[in-house]
Amino acid sequence: MKVAVLMRYPRVERAAWKRALIEGLLERGYDVALVFGERSYAQHARAALKQYGLGAVKKRGEVAARPEPRLLGHFRDRGVPVVQVGDLNGEAGVRALRALAPDLLLLLGTGIIRKGVLDVPRVGTVHCHQGYLPTYRGVNTIEWALYHGDDVHITAHFVDPGIDTGRILQRERVALLPGDDVARVRERCQQAAVPLLLRTIDAIRDGTAEPIPQAAHEGRQYFAMHPFFVDQVNRLLRERYPAGGPANGHANAPANGQGNGLADGLADGQIDVRANGRH
C-alpha cells in the first residue's frame, strides 16, 4: 500500500513523533513517499509568520537548535522518495501527488487541504485530530475539552472537504498526569497519535476499519482560544493535577478527588485505548 505523507516546512520539520510514525510505516512494509509544501524560503517565511507572528524568528532559532535531524534529509538519505512543492493545494502539488499515485494520504500538520488534493488517493486521506470528534471540531480542541472538564482524546478520521467532519476511524483517550500543563498534554497527544495512526492505517490496509460517519448536527467547531482562557486551563490543570501529586494508579484522577477520573488502572504515560469506537 502506497502512503503519501503530507507535511509543510521542509527546512525545519524535525518533529520526533512524525519521524517515529514514518519509521513505523516503513517497518510495517508500506511504500512511503514524503510530500512537503512551502518549499521556498519566502513561502516558508510567510507561512511561519502566519503561524507564529513575530515569534517566528525565535521559533526558527529554537527549532534549528534541536538535536533531532531534519525529516527531509533523514528520510531522503534512507531512500524514501521526497517531493517538494510550493503549495500543497496548488496545481503543482496536485500534479506531484497524481504522479505518486498513492493509495492513502496522511496529513501531518498541513492546514486545510482542498478537494482537488483529497480526490487524488485511491482509498482516502487520513488525519489525526487532537480532540474528540464529533464533539470537538476545529482548533485548540484540547484546550476547550480541558476547559470544559472533559477528558482529552485524539481521533483518527478520514478527511473530507469540511472542517474535521470526515468519517471517524478510531478514537483514543490520553491520560492526564500530575504536573500537566497545556503544552505537556499537547505533546503527549502527539506521541499518542503515532500508535493510533499506525493501527488505523493497518486496519485500512487489512480491510478491518469501520469508519463511522459524522452527522451534520453533531458537535461544534471551536476556534482559537483567547490567551485568558489558556491561562485558566493551565490553572485548572495545576489545581486538578498538581506536580508531585499522587498518581495512585489513576492517571486521570484529580488530586482533589473531583472531576472525571475515568482512566482507572492506567500507569503514567499509558494511553487508555478503551475509548476506541463510539460510546
Binding site: H148, D150, D151, H153, R171, F223, F228
Partner: protein, 412 residues
Amino acid sequence: MTDLPYLVRRSLRDVLARERMQHVPFPMKLDGDEEHLRETMAWLLRAVEHGEGGVAGHYSLLHGRWLPPFPETTGYVVPTLFDYAALSGEPRYADAAVRLTEWLREVQHAGGDDDGGCMQGLYDRRRGKTRPIIFNTGQNVFGFLRAYAETGEERFMDSARRAGDFLARKVDARGVWNAALHHHIPHTYNARSAWALLELHEATGEARYAEVARANLDWAVAQQAENGWFRNAHFKPGELPNTHGLAYTTRGLLESYRLTREPAYLAAAQRTADKVLRLFEIRKHLYVFWDEGWQNHGKYFPRMRGRHVCVTGNVQFALVWMRLFELTGDAPYASSAFKMVDFVKTLQDLKSRHEGVRGGVPGAFPLFGSYASLKFPNWAAKFFAEALMLKRRLMEDERLVRPAPQQAEVAR
C-alpha cells in the same frame, strides 16, 4: 483645518497593519485594558466638553475639529458615563452624564402635539427642517431612565415617559414603526428602540410600552433570513446593511430576550451572532457592508469586495458575544469577544498629544475606510468603553474562571 500630517501618517500605518494582518495571527494587544478604558473615557469627556451641550458626534481629521452632537448617541452615552463613574470613583463622569441628560430634556420636543416627547433628527434637506425620529427618541430613553435611577429626579422619568408615549403613538395598524424614520424607510435596528421601551415597561409597569416593543421585535425577527442576515437593516435606501446596523439589531433582540424571556428573540440574535462570529474568526475582523449571502462589499464600488473594517460594528458584536455568554454561559462567545477587544485595542492611539485622537476609536480601519471615514465617532468610543468594562466583569465571573463541567458528548 485638516489634520493632514496625522491623517497621512495614520493612513499609511493602517494600510501596512492591514497587510501584516494577512500574514500573522490575531493582532492581539493583551495588556493595558485599564489604560485603554481610562483614555477612552477621557476622550468621551472631551467630546462632551466640545459637544455644544451633547456629546460631539465625531472628531473629524478632515475638518480638524469636533463636530456637532447626535442626540441618539448622546442618549446612550449617558449610562456608560454613569458606569465608569461608579467603576473609577470619579464623580466628574456622573456630573457629565447628568448635564447631558439635562441637554436631552432641552432638545426633546416639548409640545403637546403629535410629536410631543420625540427627539429631532438631523436637519432634513428635503423638508427644510428637522424631523422627529423613532431611533433617536428610543436611544434617549436609556439616558433618561439611567439618570432617573441614579438621581431620583422625577423630571428624568417624565422625559422617559414622554419619549415612550411618542414611540407608542407612532405605530401603524400592525403596531410597527412606519413613520418618523431615518430616510423614511423602516429599520430592523429599531430593535434597540423596542429594547428601550421594554426597559421603560420594567420601570413603569405600563403594558402598552411592552406591547409596542414586542410588535416591532416580531417584525424585526420576520426580516431575518435563514443565514442570520437581516432585510431592512440598512441605513439609507440603496445601501447594504452594515456591521453597525446589524449589531444594533442583534443587541436589541438579545436584550429584549433578557427582559421578556421570549425564545424567538434569543434564537434570532444567536443566529446572527453565530454567523458573524464565524466570519470574524475566519477573517480576523468584520468588514463594513454585507449582502444577503454574507459577502463583503465596498461602499463606492459595490461590485468590489470591500476590505474596510467597521470598527464600531466590530466592538458592538464583541458586546453581543459577551452578553450572550452572560445569558447562556457559553464560554467560546467570550473568547471571541476578548480577541475582538484586543484587535480594537491595536487601533487605538494612546500616545498621541492630539486631543481628538488620543483615546478615540476610529470609525474605520484603515482610517480612510468606508464607514465614518477619517473620523473618531463618539459611539465607537462609547461601545469600546462598554466592552472593556464588560470584559473586566467577565474576567472575574466565576462561570468563566471556574467553568462547570460540560455535559458534552464525549466518551468517558
